[in-house]
């Protein structure tokens, strides 16, 4: 566009314009650098945080080697540490949280974008956003004082009576005698105690529903009305429109939202520390107490010294690794989907 400067223009003006152009492009360059800097800060912070946890945890990794990942011992008085139980607890609680949060969030988002009457959308949407703003310690307290006793009284006895090999009512159900190993997943040493992997997972589900559902709602709104209207015009039901038009159109973003919630569930600390029971015994059961990586660090960091401190740092590094692997899986899933769709 600068080429349009004609010869008729006096040279002084031309010089001024050239100077302005030079200044503009310099400003653009500086602006570009600033933006690059901002992005680099994020990268640096991430690499720095992962690197420093690895560095501070190197003592534990050296001492225990690969056994750190496979050992279920956590014994501060004899300085023996293994990360197996916290890793399992972290993944188990996050898995349960997703299991409940994803379908519910999907329902909420669809209701708000497709079915709810106009006047209801605003209030419900703000309520969900408010839920996202509640500090996690509040969820922890709610879990400890109200939800864990509820689980102990109503949910856990029912699950144990139906699925465990050692039910409180003494009658082993048909399912348990005929499906091998199912009892393993529903065993509990303390049948009258509400805290455990399932309880923590459910509390986490409540915590991540607002995140997932508000992302889903946003992206569902981006589906062009003419696509939906066309489908309706062809005689589709609401369900068919949702499943064949809305979901395929927004799939990538929906999965992005799910992983945002998963990230939060993996790293959640306070709420989990209150309702997980904080034990280091290896178990496959959803009803048993356990520990998560984040809650173990929060519990023990204040008083830890020496090798214990290093082991906690090593745990922190493993949380990075777990999160990274999960994100990697998400990426691969998205890529495979893209390939399938022929993109």
């Amino acid at each position: 566009m600068h080429a349009s400067v004609s010869n008729a223009v006096p040279s002084a003006e031309r010089a001024a314009e050239a100077a302005r152009n030079a200044k503009d492009s310099r400003d653009d360059r500086i602006f570009g650098w600033v933006l690059k800097g901002c992005a680099l800060i994020v990268l640096l912070a991430l690499v720095g945080a992962a690197g420093s946890t690895l560095w501070l945890g190197s003592d534990a990794f050296h001492t225990f080697g690969f056994g750190f990942l496979t050992s279920a011992t956590w014994d501060p008085s004899n300085d023996q540490y293994g990360a197996l139980v916290p890793i399992m607890g972290t993944i188990g609680t996050a898995f349960i949280a997703l299991l409940f949060a994803v379908p519910v969030s999907f329902g909420i988002a669809l209701f708000l974008t497709e079915i709810a009457p106009q006047w209801l959308r605003g209030p419900v949407s703000s309520a969900i956003e408010l839920l996202a703003g509640i500090p996690s310690i509040i969820y922890g307290m709610w879990g400890l004082f109200i939800f864990a006793p509820f689980v102990a009284e109503h949910i856990k006895p029912w699950l144990m009576n139906n699925f465990s090999a050692d039910p409180p009512d003494g009658q082993v159900s048909w399912l348990v005698t005929h499906v091998p190993a199912i009892g393993k997943f529903f065993a509990s040493e303390y049948p009258f105690f509400g805290a455990g992997v399932l309880t923590a997972g459910l509390v986490l589900a409540v915590m991540i529903i607002p995140f997932i559902s508000s992302v889903m709602r946003e992206v569902f709104q981006t589906v062009p009305t003419r696509l939906k209207e066309s489908a309706y015009a062809l005689g589709s039901s609401t369900w068919e429109v949702v499943w064949d038009i809305v979901v395929p159109y927004t799939r990538t973003a929906v999965i992005g939202g799910v992983f945002l919630g998963l990230g939060r569930a993996l790293g959640e600390t306070m709420a989990v520390a209150f309702v997980l029971g904080n034990t280091f015994k290896f178990s496959l059961s959803f009803l048993e107490t356990s520990s998560s990586i984040a809650s173990t660090i929060a519990n023990q960091f204040g008083e830890a010294q020496g090798l214990q401190r290093s082991a906690l740092m090593a745990l922190a590094f493993l949380l990075f690794v777990v999160t990274f692997i999960v994100l990697l899986i998400a990426r691969l899933m998205l890529r495979r989907m893209a390939v399938k769709e022929g993109k």
């Binding site: 008085s77 009258f192 034990t279 204040g302 010294q305």
Partner: protein, 322 residues
């Protein structure tokens, strides 16, 4: 001291003393204008910070060893006494009714005694109707001075505990579930029928959970209260200990509550900041001598006068506060 200019001193460490330190510092600020800023970050963090010299004093529920003190040029002294009590959730059993010995308590925490109607327990409690519930052990999940003193007591009264589990701010618990903080433990005990836990006395009282009475080292049955906590502090063997390095669990006194604890204040022998140190000494002198009623209102017990004199002598001889 009446300093013309107010000085702000900083400390960090144990959460066990936080309530009484904050009360003391408010009263002290009123009296002198000097402010105390205390961060309740945990004993380990308190020790780390005083070693690095970023604070004027540290506070720890476990004493530092003589070697460590010498290595970093530090000294330590006890500040205030509190009691740790076993709490139970047993239908029909009121506060202070259930009797437990240290050995039985250790066996419960080892998971060896698994039911409340075990002969070891009923033999101690003739005439008390104890339900036949399964015992659920509750312990602290976070590293804490409360756990340190509790496990220290168990390792003094049970050889098996001493060899298997040992003691520390966090240990590998042989049985049970972990609640976060005193709050978490008291909630779990209230929620689980047949559970047993241990909390600071103030928590048991505030939440009206039944506590047990204990048999002390002298063989006497004692209830937890200010008198028995004070008796433990008075009869612990301070005389032969260097740098007050005595953990006063299982104290020998006739009236001594067996699981009594203190928090050590850790300061530099030669402070990098003498004017701050001076104020810190003045603050602790004021709190040891005049802060007793404030401590009592929070269910702590002030140190016995003889011990206070010993501490002040130690300041003069070892910490250069003449």
């Amino acid at each position: 001291m009446g300093a013309a200019q107010a000085t702000d001193i900083t400390g960090a460490g144990s959460s066990f003393v936080y309530p009484v330190l904050s009360k003391w510092s408010a009263k002290y600020a009123e009296a002198t204008g000097n402010k105390l800023n205390y961060q309740s970050v945990g004993s380990g963090a308190g020790i780390a910070q005083i070693k690095e010299g970023t604070i004027d004093f540290g506070a720890s529920d476990a004493p530092m060893s003589g070697e460590d003190l010498a290595k970093f040029g530090l000294g330590q002294f006890p500040s205030v006494v509190g009691g740790i009590v076993p709490v139970v959730n047993l239908q029909g059993v009121q506060a202070g009714q259930l009797k437990l010995t240290g050995a039985v308590l250790a066996d419960i925490y080892l998971g060896k005694i698994a039911k409340w109607d075990d002969p070891a327990i009923t033999a101690l409690n003739p005439g008390l109707k104890i339900p036949s519930n399964k015992i659920t052990v509750v312990h602290r999940s976070d590293g804490s001075g409360t756990s340190f003193n509790f496990t220290n007591y168990l390792s003094k009264v049970s050889p098996e505990w001493a060899s298997k589990v040992k003691f520390g701010t966090a240990v590998e618990w042989p049985a049970g579930v972990g609640g976060k903080g005193n709050e978490g433990v008291s909630q779990y005990v209230r929620q689980i029928p047949g559970s047993i836990g241990y909390v600071e006395y103030a928590y048991a009282k505030k939440n009206s959970i039944s506590f047990a009475q204990m048999q002390n080292a002298a063989g006497k049955w004692v209830q937890p209260n200010a008198d028995t906590f004070g008796a433990a502090a008075g009869t612990a063997d301070w005389a032969s200990a260097k740098d007050f390095n005595v953990i006063m669990t299982n104290a020998p006194g006739e009236q001594a509550w067996p699981i009594t604890a203190t928090t050590w204040i850790i300061m530099y022998k030669k402070s990098k900041n003498p004017s701050h140190s001076k104020v810190a000494f003045d603050f602790f002198k004021w709190s040891l001598e005049k802060g007793q009623s404030d401590a009592a209102s929070l269910d702590y017990v002030a140190l016995p006068t003889t011990l206070v004199q010993k501490i002040e002598a130690y300041w003069a001889s070892d910490l250069g506060n003449k």
